[in-house]
Symmetry: C2
């Protein structure tokens, strides 16, 4: 079973390392934070004293390297990959894919890179918030653009399964559009809603806030730096999703002001939640990498909302 | 202890009836739905065969009458109040207050009316979804405009406490503005977000939806008729809240498109969630109805986000 080298030990990276080790794999890591390194070591994990040292070990073991730092820090780490472990099997958990592709091409062009993105998280962050169970049942996107290295694709899918997740194959651009809609836009709407609730002369509105406001604003409690890195890193796809939301919200405003009617908005939202329930129960399938059009077929699986849970045959 | 007559036995009314009876009070009700009447009777509750019969019984017992139907059905029931029990002690759980005031003035001007609004609910609806514990720890707004009947105010506050809730006194207009921000706007934003997630050629976005999308769209699963009755009934206050949200969302869009920066939006949202946590821990106080400016003092309590949990002295 292939070793796993996790660079960055926050909520996501720390959870990947825990899950890999819990599944019996050779897992080790590195982090730029001395306090995180101490905490992870104290919890019994192998943390190398520097990113270079971890990458050197990864090269020695032909490990799968997992980049797990915020997007703004990726370029610096990729420069170290290019210097210390240039031909690595490489993936990430960074949350945007087209910008990551571009960074890898520029900073570590020799790496055998297949992007990844586990769709899990909490409002908390940092090593202490992580757990080996964080990805249980979650979707884990694995990039499926033409030309990717199928051998590394297998490694990334198997890491996702090791973590208890299910694999959703998708082209990088489709992934970025999808997460703009279902992951980044929710953070912006939550922030706007929270601010409108707090924007009154008295504390009465916040005193009356109950389930609908708490649900709708929960992710606005996430550490702003993490939200900014995630959303600003997906700017172009996010702008399209924001414009879609603004168009719908503006049409609703017009209808409320003119006829007072909200039925179109409310019914479309209700129908969408029913579709959400159906899609999230979509088939779990097995995939075959040993066919000529393997990546095309994988992308079709993702478009249908299905998830890959193992290999065929 | 005063008897309680609940007209309308859906989620909220059904829960009020259950909580009043569980606390040992004489509680009875009526509903326009034959199937709901059967279900509530089968569960052991006293359900009169018609609204008129229940109101006649309420008049006989000098009960507190609780209106618990959607806003569009209120006028018809108020006409029966005026006919059968014109001087009733009257409150409601309808969710908007200025429009309710207006309806009572027009249809049952003799009623001793003090508006109420328990801030609790679930995405489910109907008698079967209710429970005696629904209001445990919830805010229950009681209208505190000048001129209200303090004897009925006491009845309504004591009903809220019977149900396990805490009382937030507020002027009707302030209440309507507050719920537009923290209860109605969240339903519209949830509907818009759900529609944007479902608005793609493939099912990939919904397949990738995780915690932030599920939290942000949860209330879009509420039965559309209930959401429409609630939101459309608070049109004027809601329009102001929608415009506040649109202004913030539009400014964010401009910043994303020009500099790519989202810090102002994200930081304001984060600060608002911290203020929410503080306000929801505001003091629990005791109130005194036997002072000349009792209603002014009650409104001040609500403006500070505090909650009344009993009488002073």
């Amino acid at each position: 079973v292939r070793a796993v080298c996790v660079i960055g030990l926050g909520l996501i990276g720390g959870s990947v390392l825990r899950a890999a080790v819990a599944a019996g794999r050779d897992g080790f890591g590195a982090t730029a934070s001395a306090s995180t390194a101490s905490a992870a070591s104290a919890d019994g994990y192998c943390v190398w004293p520097s990113v270079d040292a971890a990458l050197a070990r990864a090269a020695e073991r032909d490990a799968l390297v997992v980049l797990a730092m915020p997007l703004p820090e990726v370029a610096g780490v990729l420069d170290r990959v290019a210097a210390v472990a240039p031909g690595s099997r490489l993936t990430d958990v960074v949350s945007v894919q087209a910008p990551m592709d571009e960074l890898v091409r520029r900073h570590a062009p020799g790496a055998r890179y297949v992007g990844g993105h586990p769709m899990a998280g909490t409002a908390d962050s940092g090593w202490a918030a992580g757990s080996a169970e964080l990805f249980e049942g979650a979707a884990w996107v694995v990039a499926a653009d033409d030309g990717l290295d199928l051998d590394v694709w297998r490694d990334v899918a198997e890491l996702a399964w090791t973590c208890g997740a299910e694999v959703v194959p998708a082209a990088a651009a489709d992934h970025d559009d999808a997460v703009a809609r279902v992951s980044h836009l929710p953070h912006l709407l939550a922030a706007v809603l929270a601010a409108v609730g707090a924007d009154a002369e008295s504390d009465l509105p916040l005193a009356l806030a109950a389930g609908s406001f708490r649900d709708g604003t929960r992710v606005a409690g996430t550490r702003p730096e993490l939200v900014l890195a995630m959303c600003e890193g997906n700017r172009s796809a996010l702008l399209a999703a924001v414009d879609d939301a603004l168009g719908r919200f503006g049409a609703m405003r017009g209808s409320l002001a003119s006829t007072g009617g909200l039925a179109a908005t409310v019914r479309a939202g209700h129908a969408a939640t029913q579709r959400l329930t159906r899609v999230q129960q979509a088939a779990r399938v097995r995939a075959d990498l040993n066919v000529p059009d393997a990546l095309t077929r994988l992308r079709e699986i993702g478009s249908r909302g299905e998830r890959v849970i193992g290999w065929r045959g």
